[in-house]
């Protein structure tokens, strides 16, 4: 199967069940809302070393924020509910509460509740106060520019992490152009994030290593510089590979983002689109490329 002359490999991305949370971050201006959300979702590229995967989502014009101010959604994905609580406490506390004029609200309608604002409130040193309305409790923590408003609990729901596809191209220019275009298109899909820098990862990994104690290592079959030394997965003519990893709040959203991204990535200089899997034995979800883009 080919799109614009680009081969779509008959394979699938294997993804895993994760815990997902969606926070709405608001501020006096859109710029400061984004700054706060980016601070909270920074250093969250991979669950391997960051504790969570996270990113931001623009809000639709018909999706007003809880307080009517400019805002942005911040999505977080962890392997466990407990891990989510730890991450959100640190990231909301250090990334959002510290940012001028910010406020932070739960952005999911259902799921298990984890207490975040209910713990951050102690920063108020006894001068914090709460408001309870419509089943939602807000904490008002006095800070130097006024008040930090944070919802007592955030919802955590089952989510999907690790959707992916590879862009194999004739060179880094073509690979980068295709990946950037794909990520730009995928950002229109709500409820998903591409957690790596700019949405793109160059250091894809495999879950094995020759070194004791090292659980993951570079995805050597896809590394062009060592092509003669390994059992290479690179077709002839491929000189650079970039990967896009997708986490989403729902399986359908990850599938849609994959479809949008793969189609958008089929640009001149791209040889093949592939995906990473473990033979289907580890992950609960499979995203078959050809099924998604239509046969």
């Amino acid at each position: 199967m080919r799109i614009n002359g680009v081969e779509i490999e008959d394979t699938f991305a294997e993804a895993f069940e994760m815990s997902g949370a969606r926070l709405i971050v608001t501020a006096h201006t859109q710029s400061w809302a984004l700054t706060a959300a980016q601070a909270a979702t920074g250093f969250a590229t991979s669950i391997i070393g960051c504790g969570c995967e996270a990113g931001t989502n623009e809000l639709a014009p018909d999706d007003p924020t809880p307080d009517g101010r400019p805002g942005v959604a911040a999505l977080f994905f962890t392997t466990s509910r407990q891990g989510m609580e730890t991450q959100l406490l640190q990231r909301v506390g250090q990334g959002i509460m510290t940012s001028p004029t910010s406020a932070c609200y739960n952005g999911l309608a259902s799921g298990d509740a984890i207490k975040v604002g209910g713990k951050l409130r102690f920063f108020g040193d006894g001068f914090q106060s709460s408001k309870f309305l419509d089943g939602r409790r807000l904490w008002r923590v006095p800070v130097m520019d006024g008040e930090f408003v944070v919802e007592e609990s955030f919802r955590v729901s089952k989510a999907v992490g690790g959707g992916n596809f590879f862009i194999m191209a004739e060179g880094i220019e073509a690979a980068l152009a295709a990946a950037e275009t794909a990520v730009g298109a995928m950002r229109s899909v709500p409820g998903v994030i591409m957690p790596f820098p700019g949405g793109i990862v160059r250091s894809g990994s495999k879950v094995s290593s020759k070194y004791k104690g090292q659980h993951v290592s570079s995805n050597t079959p896809f590394c062009p510089t060592i092509r003669p030394l390994v059992e290479s997965a690179l077709p002839d003519g491929v000189e650079a590979v970039l990967e896009i990893v997708i986490d989403g709040l729902e399986e359908d959203l990850v599938g849609e983002a994959t479809r949008v991204g793969v189609v958008a990535a089929c640009l001149p200089g791209v040889v093949r689109i592939s995906a990473g899997n473990y033979g289907g034995s580890l992950g609960r979800y499979q995203f078959h490329l050809r099924e998604l883009v239509g046969t």
């Binding site: 608001t26 006096h28 007003p64 809880p66 307080d67 009517g68 101010r69 004029t101 406020a103 609200y105 001068f127 106060s129 408001k131 309870f132 309305l133 419509d134 807000l138 008002r140 006024g146 008040e147 408003v149």
Partner: protein
């Protein structure tokens, strides 16, 4: 709305309709008009529930025509100006009152909704624990307040009055929300322990006297505050924007922009803990 034909029209609302048979200044205690009491009962059994007509023990059937079925949606209509305690202690369902209604509407209620299409008497939602009361007209004194001798009044839920209210709205309230579309009388939030009172008209004199915590918000004019309230700052309270937008979602005709500006924050009453707040919208903006 003064005839049985009108009562029949009320059946269009579904549920059970009670139409007051006569007008009388004699007070009626009708705490039986409550979804919890109607549950599992047909019209005849509902008509047999007790009420007081002055000092005389009567039945609801002596005072009201009862028609329809379904306990969770009750419509009460007719001359209700002297009918007290409708919805007392209700925990579920809905009561719609189409005419002016007497005191103690929804007192002690813990769930469900009461909608009064016109005005209500004193003590609306006294000691309310949950649910929602919406009065589209005016309400009397002591809305959401504590009865004399009781340490705390409202402990949950929301009371919304579209018009004016009398004195001591929210007195000794412990939790919950009271929204007043018009003006308030004196001593709004007196001895308030916590909770929120939002006033879109003019806030009456001496608000928050003796309050410990909680919020009184004046979107309109506010009087000179008691000397036991101290100015803190002028700022934009984000929680208030959240609050007003939830009220809008409830279908209340509130201008959410009213909460978008700056407010002057005063803390008091320093005769108590001093942690209560009165937010006065900065009219200079």
């Amino acid at each position: 709305m003064g005839c049985l034909a009108c009562a029949a029209l009320m059946l269009d609302r579904g549920g059970i309709t009670l139409y007051r048979k006569e007008s009388s200044p004699i007070p009626v205690e009708a705490d039986s008009i409550c979804p919890d009491r109607f549950l599992g009962r047909g019209p005849a059994e509902i008509a047999a529930l007790p009420a007081y007509y002055g000092r005389r023990r009567v039945t609801l059937g002596d005072l009201f025509e009862v028609d329809g079925a379904g306990a969770d949606n009750i419509t009460v209509t007719g001359d209700l100006r002297h009918v007290k305690k409708i919805g007392l202690g209700m925990s579920m369902g809905r009561i719609s009152v189409t005419d002016d209604v007497g005191p103690h509407l929804g007192a002690y209620m813990s769930g469900g909704e009461i909608s009064a299409e016109r005005s209500a008497g004193d003590w609306v939602g006294a000691h309310m624990k949950g649910g929602r009361i919406v009065v589209q007209g005016d309400a009397g004194h002591f809305v959401g307040a504590a009865y004399p001798g009781e340490p705390r009044g409202v402990t949950g839920g929301a009371i919304i009055v579209g018009g004016n209210v009398g004195g001591e709205v929210g007195a000794r309230m412990r939790r919950g929300s009271i929204v007043v579309g018009g003006d308030t009388g004196e001593f709004a939030g007196a001895h308030m322990i916590a909770g929120s009172i939002l006033v879109f008209g003019r806030l009456g004199a001496r608000p928050g006297a003796g309050m410990k915590r909680g919020s009184i918000v004046a979107f309109g004019d506010a009087p000179k505050l008691l000397p036991t309230f101290r100015y803190a700052c002028r700022y934009e309270p984000a929680f208030l924007r959240f609050y007003v937008r939830r009220l809008e979602e409830w279908g209340l005709s509130i201008d959410s922009v009213a909460a978008d500006g700056c407010f002057r924050r005063y803390l008091g009453d320093t005769n108590q803990s001093g942690k209560g707040e009165i937010l006065v919208r900065d009219q200079s903006q």
